[in-house]
Amino acid sequence: MTQLVIISIYLMLLLCLGVFSSKLFRGTSKDYMLASHSIGPFMLLMSLFGTTMTAFALVGSTGESFKEGAGVYGLLASSSGIIHSLCFFVLGVKLWDLGRKHGYTTQIQYFRDRLESDRIGILLFPILVGLVIPYLLIGVMASGTVINSITEGAFETAFAEYDYGVPPWLASLVICIVVLVYVFFGGMRGTAMANTAQTMVFMVLGLITFVIISHKLGGLEQATQNVVDKNPTKMMRTVDPQDQENYDTAYAKWKTVAFYNYSKRIKGLKLTAEQLKAGMDAFPVAGPAGYLKKTRGPAVFAAKNGLIDLSYEEKNKALLLQDDRITEGQAAGTIEDLPIDKELSHESFEEWHRRGGADAIGLELFEAQVGHPNDAMPGKPELKKWTRKKAKGVYRATSWAPDAPRPMDPWKFLTYFFVPLSVGMFPHLFQHWLTAKSADSFKLAVVAHPIFIMIVWVPCVLLGVWMTSADIIPAHFPPNAVLPAAVKALTTPFVAGLLSAGILAAIMSSLDSQFLCVGTMFTTDIVTHYRKKSEFTDKQLIVIARTFIVAIVALTYFFSLFEPRRVFTLGVWCFSGFSSLFPLILASLYWKKLTKAGAYAAILAAGGSWLYLFAESNWAANPHYTFLGVMPVATMVAATTVAMIVVSLVTKPPSEETLQKFFK
């Protein structure tokens, strides 16, 4: 309950900040959308940094390093330090200058003018808004996960199906409403102020929590030593031989269980009571609620005594069934494309997608253990009842195949460099750039951004790596919940509440800019562009912007209710879409020969390649998807660049007047 109270107080404070910033509001749409170009260096730094660091930076980085190891920092954080500032420097300052001279508020206004094409706005608007939605989704989804995880057991009887905590759908809804309120009250000024305050909150609280957690794990050195001893692969980017050996052993044992279960469930193998008892007695490890002894003991007994006899086809079905990739009904029938002359490798059977919600069976298996997390287990007062999440987690950790240690592919690592280019095309950053008071206001942001990234990411990545070996979080744990679970397990309720507020601060400091930006784009690029601006009062324009924002937030919220993806994976896909448009904005500023037709070709190539590759990755369900051995974003950027250059070179160049306007 303490955590819930702290989070509630924090949200109330934010609402007060929104109300306060509304006192400074000048009542014009320019002030609402661009804070009347009045933002100085410090607030510009904090709002740019707060906007780019979202759930992706805290929740995503911790979860991803838990899965993939310390190399995650190099994948995105250090490259972002180079590329983000490069974008601020090469694009931001120049666009700020053009925006100030020609009165732009949005990217589309600029592109319409630069490319001498009105219709380019019609093509770009749905693409940009469409790409902002998954970005919003990351924040909305993560806020629900964080609040739910951290408030488990806060209620006595309510929300039992959500472990007596705030349901994710309700938490996400509250966060959306709070952000909407302060964006509506304060506009861009309120957003910049809230971003500044929230960025300071999440940086300071993050560091405090990191110190507390490292202390709880026995100090920095001990926490890392645990990883070196138990999961050395997480310390590097190749696979440690010891880890490979451990995995090979665990996988072989898991296959025995899979073959036994298939024989029992599909082929009707039945051990006698004596055989079952002998198997269980011989198995040394009881596991949670004695589950391992019950399931693995008989399997080992059956294998040792030659009671399992399966063909390759049956073995392959057994692997898929045990890993919840097919149902029992499918296992009893014929499966297309299933090899019948060789056994599937772990890597190849992962191509069959796991059934959504398959781990719910854990709730049935451990029905006796599940309850209110503050209640004692009957007959064992020293143990607490399990949450529903834990029951599912135990099922996943004991039933699904062990995670194979995975090296980081150097080509994939190299081509991750294209992902941070997305910053150049984020519509909300474009709007933030235009709020700057002067070109010099950018200097602090350009210099401090990489250092701030380091301050936020290094503790998160270390924490994720440490959690692999701290015996707190089991295998197959949802990556999005690693950070809140670690905080809850290793800190006091008070600190957990504070850090949750910090995580929410990071999430909300991005959501607010994005909310404001989609509203601005709609009023500027659609409403006042196609109807005379004089037909609307400033007040009406603000109402229209707010209505559109609510519609987009409602749509995002609706999507967030479905099966969640890994925050990191979804983020990378969203950023890849924006990155694929980077060549267009770069060329528009520095290449005189860019033509209208070239720009259309670039946008179509970017949209087409993104959609094709996103579908190929099963809509982000496959977090390890690569195309031709490299990150899909590399292909997208290449396709966009080639289409843009080739078409521009063979079509009519822009008018002299336009060239004078943009390249004098």
């Binding site: 250090s78 190749t238 401090a448």
Partner: protein
């Protein structure tokens, strides 16, 4: 006291001194850009630290090499961008105010050297 004020007024109306500042700045800016581009390329090369791929022993007892090296790349990026703001920062029209101030200072120095 009055003379520098007059000089500053003249400088405001003197496009030659503004142009001279711009020319000097343009030369510095051009060289600066090459230095910054070089530093960024160096950072990108150093970022791809394949030589650290299989190092598992922590540095300082707790820091994975894969993390420390990349954190240093972040520090390097901060330094590079600091240099960029000093030697390759673009000049815009509203920077004329800065140009004028510097021109006034230049004019003042010349007058002082002349024994006025």
């Amino acid at each position: 006291m009055i003379y520098p004020m007059i000089c500053s007024r003249i400088a405001l109306l003197n496009p030659t001194s503004i142009q001279s500042f711009r020319n000097r700045h343009a030369i510095m800016n051009k060289n600066g850009k090459f230095i910054v581009i070089g530093l960024v390329i160096l950072l990108i090369i150093l970022h791809h630290d394949v030589w650290n791929w299989d190092k598992k022993e922590p540095v300082m007892g707790f820091m994975p090499v894969a993390l420390l090296w990349q954190a240093l790349i972040s520090v390097g990026a901060g330094i590079t961008w600091y240099i960029a703001t000093k030697i390759a920062w673009p000049v815009f029209d509203d920077d004329d105010a800065v140009v004028v101030t510097e021109s006034v200072t230049d004019a003042g120095s010349e007058v002082s050297e002349g024994g006025e």
